[in-house]
Subunit: 153 residues, 2 copies
DNA sequence: CCTGAAAACAGACCCCC
DNA sequence: GGGGGTCTGTTTTCAGG
């Protein structure tokens, strides 16, 4: 999965992360190249899977999604069948923006975006009724200090 | 900050989140409208701040960023001066993808993307040498079950 | 691997409904 | 507020160095 990227590739990626709506000419100018080579590099990185897709970033507050929770989950179940069901449940729920299986005594962490605390409770009740969970801690975000999709390239 | 959005707006947002490189005609066809109204709605939502920006989503693994940590931070310091310095430090570090101030006994949570455990340690040492922190727990992600930028609209 | 031209295409803005 | 057309600029392709 590792792809060789040179300095020029990285500059292009930085520009595309910053603003993917820029024209090729603009990107080419900024990275000190010209249209066609930039275009070829972008195509190559798309094909290599470095660039996954292009998306519009929305403001959660403007959409009324004003509550953000990080959910720490411990479970007593470690069978394949249970895990499969749990993962499917997480993937199916659009309010779950992130889900990771962890090393250590906490088994999973979720990032959940909802309208308010009440909506979180609805989500939580639905989740625990679907799959057996041993222990849950919800951390409520008071302030989003930083939230970026931009990876260091 | 709350904006009135109708069903058509939400459909357009869903399409733009799914794939922002689609043409207006394509989006118009999918949502059952035509070019101009779709374009006007997009412009309105951009101006209202619902659509923040447009970005290329990159694959962290392909970039060699194979380690992801969630960092739980407790601090004994709650002065404005300390907090200002801490926030600035987080914002300045590109490996910190998310940072939230929390309610409850854990004060902050970070999401940190790095090459490996060693790179995390470098980050960690740099951070604690910059600002005084009382207690840190790092949760290592073993598996990214889900990671999406798509908000439920 | 780059330059430059050319063709296909989509975005931005018009007027009319 | 939606529909259709048009101009302009951008993407994509390709020939040639």
């Amino acid at each position: 999965m590792a792809v060789r990227l040179d300095e020029m590739d990285r500059k292009i990626l930085a520009e595309l992360q910053e603003d993917a709506s820029q024209s090729l000419d603009e990107i080419a100018r900024k990275v000190g190249s010209s249209k066609t080579p930039v275009w070829n590099r972008i195509r190559r990185m798309r094909e290599a899977g470095v660039i996954t897709r292009q998306t519009a970033v929305l403001d959660p507050e403007a959409l009324g999604l004003e509550a953000c929770f990080f959910v720490l989950i411990r479970t007593s179940e470690h069978e394949a069948e249970w895990q499969k069901k749990f993962l499917a449940a997480l993937r199916a729920r659009p309010e779950v923006l992130e889900a990771h299986r962890l090393a250590g005594d906490i088994d999973y962490i979720l990032k959940v975006r909802v309208k308010n605390a009440r909506a979180y409770d609805t989500f939580y009740q639905a989740l625990i009724s679907e799959v057996r969970i041993y222990n849950v801690t919800a951390l409520l975000s008071m302030e989003e200090i930083k939230s970026t999709t931009m990876l260091p390239v």
